[in-house]
Assembly symmetry: C2
């Protein structure tokens, strides 16, 4: 990275422009994971903003997982570009789904698209370790003493495990974010089920096992179809489900 | 929203915990788009943090498009939960794709999945306005005087128009973010093409027109197949293309 790539900012909300410049350098490939940003004083000087603006920009980027700060004064100190964790993307996508108020059919269709794709890929890649990871939440869900919160968490874990098993990191991140975004509203629906709950548990266990069996058999087409029926089915019977 | 939903925070990076609490309230549905946050002083008191920590948290959330501040002292003033713009998600997904260094095949497969889906939906919904919006970048791309930057921007615009035309907002946002994330690396490859450029332009124009024709004819299966071939083809011939 050359010094030329930093140029003074000139608008009122200085910290936003500092954020923009740092992001631009990342998107242009001039700043990579592990690269260190210039120090606060130096950056403030080059961009012609206050040190407070630089500090605020760094904190904003830290909160998004784009950079992390290392304390101290040695060669390890300073602000370093970090490999943005999937969790940061997942959190933002969850907020986006919560705030953007996407229509339920949009969310259901997006899940069908993502999870069909993941189920098919998982079927192709199915090795023993992968199948163990898928079976773990299913076995745990067989416990009749689980409350609805614990059952829902395991349900989420199974869907995420399929996405991870598909082996496409980008698709897995999107799938996880959306499944996670609907976690609370699925739970709210579980609470509304009253005494229909035991029947629903039986049904969900059976559907998950059927998906697992198709993946284990390497039958991608069936796995994709079963996961689609499972998602569409739930959207149909969950009371008050709003995505 | 009740006062009970705010409780004091107790860790060292106070502003992060303020951010977490506000996000939790959004995810739980207690804070909705248009709701006003308590004032800085009040929030600091309830959460037992400094006003500086609240201010920092608000700025972090503003930078992510989660809240916006309205100035003044009337009933319109204060910090309001905003409908997080798609642009905020797109920007973060672009950064994530840039930093997470997803393998090229993952990005190509994710695009194939998303754009096949969008092309099929666009074919089903194709009305006159939608078709006009799709044709606009294509007509502009017929100009032989376009430089590679302008050509690439129109190429991006065509893919985004298909995603928008599909009518699923969530899928469109994901598609836009990923196409946008690869914009710079596609452009870098265009620059490497040297005197093969005119042939590539001819090829891309023809492929885009064929996709358009299938969408206009309402032939979703062909539209999906053509968009898949177009994406896989480009990944094959773009020199130095790294996703």
């Amino acid at each position: 990275m050359t010094e030329d790539s930093w140029h003074p900012v000139s608008r009122s909300r200085a910290y936003e422009l500092v954020v923009d410049q740092i992001e631009d350098q990342i998107l242009e490939g001039r700043l990579k994971v592990g690269d260190r940003l210039p120090g606060e004083r130096e950056l403030a000087g080059r961009l012609e903003v206050s040190r407070a603006a630089v500090r605020e920009a760094i904190r904003t980027l830290e909160a998004q997982g784009v950079v992390r700060s290392a304390v101290g004064s040695g060669p390890e100190a300073g602000t370093v570009v970090s490999a943005m964790p999937s969790a940061a993307l997942t959190r933002l996508l969850r907020l986006h789904v919560a705030l953007a108020n996407f229509p339920l059919p949009d969310v259901v269709e997006a899940r069908v698209m993502l999870e069909r794709y993941s189920a098919r890929l998982a079927s192709e890649h199915a090795g023993p370790d992968l199948l163990d990871a898928l079976r773990e939440p299913l076995d745990a869900m067989d416990d009749d003493d689980l409350d609805r919160v614990a059952f829902n968490d395991l349900d989420t874990a199974f869907h995420i495990a399929i996405a991870e098993a598909g082996g496409n990191r980008l698709v897995a991140d999107m799938t996880t974010a959306i499944r996670d975004a609907v976690r609370r509203s699925v739970l709210a629906s579980f609470e509304l089920l009253g005494d229909r709950w035991p029947d629903i548990v039986t049904r969900l266990r059976a559907e998950h096992r059927a998906i697992y069996d198709a993946v284990a058999a390497g039958d991608g087409e069936s796995a994709a179809r079963l996961v689609e029926e499972h998602i569409r089915g739930a959207a149909g019977w969950l009371p008050g489900w709003k995505g």
